[in-house]
């Protein structure tokens, strides 16, 4: 069956659609995709490792996959809920605001957007026409390009409403990424490493002489093909040989 590259390309582009209503969700999807790629690479590295017996691989590879699925699944479910909750809250709050307050905040946001374009490098650098861009911004966001709350346009109001919702979604994505990466991942990784080690010790009593493996990686057990205790010095020798994937 031949690949339909056009359809695949369209699907990828649709998934990356940066519509403000999807803000936060796109960050979540991209981060989760990175985590899936990293977990898959780690598991693949474990599956093809020459130093691990076929018997151990039968346990280690599914264990690695299960740890990855639990980690990414929990992160995704939790962050998705946070993004939705913050976006809904932003929607409700903006809908309940007085028109004068919206106009005031929209003016402030429009002013900041214009200043950013005038002084920023990253946003305008690629387009190389900051003067044209700034004048286009002024005329889009204010009637006759005169910066004043009285001249605020519908485009500027829409920019404020959309960006408030988008900012709430991004905050949810950031909070989820921090909790997922700094709290959930260490718990899942360290606890699963403990149980994996216990299971390995059952089959290989010699391992009881070694400290627990700090994270899922069967190559920990051997350095240059020889079993060595996992002290700091040997651990450093091990890390010279293998790098854990992190995307």
């Amino acid at each position: 069956m031949a690949f339909n590259f056009q359809k695949i390309g369209e699907k990828i582009l649709n998934a990356c659609n940066p519509d403000p209503s999807k803000a936060g969700k796109t960050l979540l999807v991209l981060n989760a995709a990175g985590m899936i790629a990293a977990a898959a690479s780690n598991t693949f590295a474990a599956a093809v490792d020459k130093n691990t017996s076929a018997e151990d691989k039968k346990f280690l590879v599914p264990a690695g996959l299960a740890t990855g699925v639990a980690n990414i699944g929990l992160y995704y479910a939790m962050t998705d809920k946070m993004i939705k909750s913050l976006k809904n809250s932003a929607d409700t709050f903006v809908s309940s605001m007085e028109a004068s307050d919206i106009a005031k905040n929209a003016t402030e946001l429009a002013k900041k957007t214009i200043t950013k374009a005038e002084t920023g490098f990253l946003g305008t650098g690629l387009f190389k026409k900051p003067k044209e861009l700034v004048s286009s911004m002024k005329s889009t966001l204010f009637k006759d390009g005169i910066i004043d709350v009285k001249n605020i346009t519908d485009d500027a109001i829409a920019l404020y409403k959309n960006n408030t919702k988008a900012a709430a979604g991004v905050l949810g994505a950031f909070a989820g990424a921090v909790i997922g990466c700094a709290v959930l991942t260490p718990i899942i990784r360290d606890v699963s490493a403990y149980f994996i080690q216990k299971r390995m010790e059952k089959n290989n009593p010699d391992l009881r002489e070694q400290p627990h493996r700090p994270y899922f990686d069967p190559t920990h057990l051997k350095i240059n093909g020889v079993n060595k205790p996992m002290n700091m010095k040997n651990y450093m020798a091990f890390t010279q040989m293998h790098g854990n994937m992190k995307i």
């Binding site: 582009l13 991209l30 957007t113 946003g123 889009t140």
Partner: protein, 210 residues
């Protein structure tokens, strides 16, 4: 009946707590255009900095804490889990700092390249495939010169998004050739500092005992 009421109240409190946090956060954002301007346009670069920065600070503390908890719960007497959790803490720090530096550079390059490419396709489609892509990324047919602001806003958003996706593919390769040796280098340096520090501490303790 009473137990049901208590459970209901607890559940309501929990929901109110979550609702309050979300409401307070969004109220703050909506009333501070500076916060909107900072957050709304954030790309995967900002996400990586926030995520790995917090991992570099919180992650090692979590590793050591989890090691202590496992040792306590399992009643382990030889302290092996404790010892490996300290090693893992250094590894977590090295991974998050090294991964952030390389990850941010790769993401920035991919986003820059994608934005430039997308802006070109969005402005003037050539081939049949490019026309299809142009229809998708620029459905309103915004003109690069006439609608400069809206056009750039749209194209840089697409660039951030598509560049972030491309970066994942690129990093599958750079992870082995750049990240792994770089992280090992940081790991070695930090381990040296920790070893030196703990060596000094042990010497001081020995002196105090004498």
């Amino acid at each position: 009946m009473k137990i049901n009421n208590i459970q209901q109240t607890k559940q309501n409190n929990k929901q109110n707590f979550r609702g309050n946090i979300a409401n307070k956060a969004t109220k703050f954002i909506a009333q501070h255009p500076a916060a909107i301007a900072t957050l709304a346009g954030s790309s995967v670069i900002a996400q990586k900095i926030v995520m790995s920065g917090s991992e570099a600070v919180i992650g090692p503390v979590m590793d050591v804490g989890i090691g202590k908890t496992i040792t306590k719960i399992s009643g382990e007497t030889d302290g092996r889990t404790n010892e490996s959790s300290k090693t893992q803490a250094i590894r977590t720090f090295a991974q998050s700092t090294g991964g952030t530096i390389v990850g941010v550079i790769i993401r920035a390059l991919c986003i820059g390249a994608s934005t430039a490419m997308i802006a070109k396709i969005g402005a003037k489609a050539g081939s049949k495939a490019a026309t299809k892509v142009s229809e998708l990324i620029n459905p309103d047919k915004l003109d690069k010169a006439k609608d400069a602001f809206k056009f750039q806003d749209k194209m840089s958003s697409w660039g951030k998004s598509v560049g972030g996706a491309i970066a994942i593919g690129v990093m599958l390769v750079t992870n082995f050739i750049i990240d792994a040796p770089f992280i090992n280098w940081i790991n070695k340096k930090v381990t040296g500092v920790v070893d030196k520090f703990s060596g000094n501490k042990q010497e001081n303790q020995a002196k105090e005992v004498k």
